[in-house]
Symmetry: C2
Subunit: 214 residues, 2 copies
């Protein structure tokens, strides 16, 4: 999804904007980044795109549609983060199985995205229907990278097959919950180091809770 104005293309004309949908989405993303989902406001997005308030209705079916688009964008960025982390995992010296290291890396990527892109993450969280019914299928990149890691763990004999189906959501719940508690909850302003400790403790709980007993 290309967000920024296409660089060298035809310059926007006087009347017809040319790339209004993209410009509105870019404005919406910026609004979300700064102010969270509630800040994704149609009139302001239109203003930033240099266009009248109601022009947005030619491209988005109302405010929630724009929020939904921003949400999808946020999901894409999050997915890329997680995939990049999973790909890089194992570079450092680590005696544990690669699949476990990868699962941990995914969790850490999720949390770091939540903390570094708070507004975007919050927008990704809001209660709009997930894009095209993400659901539990692994065709969604963000969820897919998680299920792949768990598949690898199952293949390695580290995950009991009978919990293979519930494991991704249980793990996701723990990491997601921790992210939310750190953003909106009582952990909003704990020192960085304490928060990191909590990250590690939660990841340990997830791993110990999922792995087969040695």
């Amino acid at each position: 999804m290309n967000i920024s104005e296409p660089a060298g293309e035809v310059a926007p004309r006087a009347y017809h904007h040319g790339h209004l949908a993209e410009a509105l989405l870019a404005a919406g993303v910026e609004l979300a980044r700064v102010g969270g989902p509630d800040a994704v406001v149609l009139r302001e997005a239109a203003r930033r795109a240099g266009v009248s308030a109601t022009a947005a209705y030619r491209h988005f079916d109302g405010q929630t549609a724009l929020q939904q688009a921003v949400k999808e964008y946020a999901l894409e960025v999050l997915s890329e983060h997680m995939q990049a982390a999973a790909a890089q995992a194992g570079a450092a010296a680590d005696t544990r199985p690669a699949s476990v290291v990868r699962l941990e890396a995914i969790g850490r990527a999720y949390l770091s995205f939540a903390l570094n892109e708070r507004g975007l993450f919050r927008t990704f969280c809001i209660g709009l229907p997930m894009p095209e019914g993400v659901s539990l299928d692994s065709d969604q990149p963000a969820f897919g990278v998680l299920t792949q890691a768990l598949d690898a763990m199952t293949a390695d004999g580290l995950l009991a097959p009978e919990i293979r189906l519930t494991a991704p959501l249980a793990a996701w719940s723990a990491v997601h919950g921790l992210a939310i508690l750190c953003l909106d909850g009582p952990l909003a302003d704990i020192p960085d180091q304490e928060r990191d400790n909590l990250f590690e403790a939660t990841l340990r709980m997830v791993l110990h809770g999922l792995l087969v007993r040695p």
Copy 2:
């Protein structure tokens, strides 16, 4: 906190309402129950209290103050739920240690509150500063009942002392995350039975992840 209009007290006068703060809070709670935090709207609350729009400003310092009050109310209700569940736990035949059963009951109470009082739970979740800095101290009832259960588990030798401090937040993260995924996330409309399975699987992950190895 008394929410409803005091039954047999002095009837509201013509000009001075008499119990406007309570009436506004009650209206706010009702709005939150139906529509979540965004539905907690000053003008509508005032309307329901039979009072002009700006009268609310004599009792609440703007909209966020009313939302905050509703949030505190929601936290109280949630705490009572959890405490009641913890107290009742162990009534059913269960061969496991009482402290473990209690911890499970608390988690289930949290989830059932989230599902049965969606609007209120969502309001409780919003990113306003927790009432009087709930933080990690166990003087908050909802958090206290959790730490007590974990203390009991530690005393029973079921929880390693070195994770005693991080355990409550790790456990809370998992249960909270699952609740959110069920309300706003991809698990919004899975069948009840699948959701219950997921509950149990997540609780198992938490318990296995926290308990010392037998």
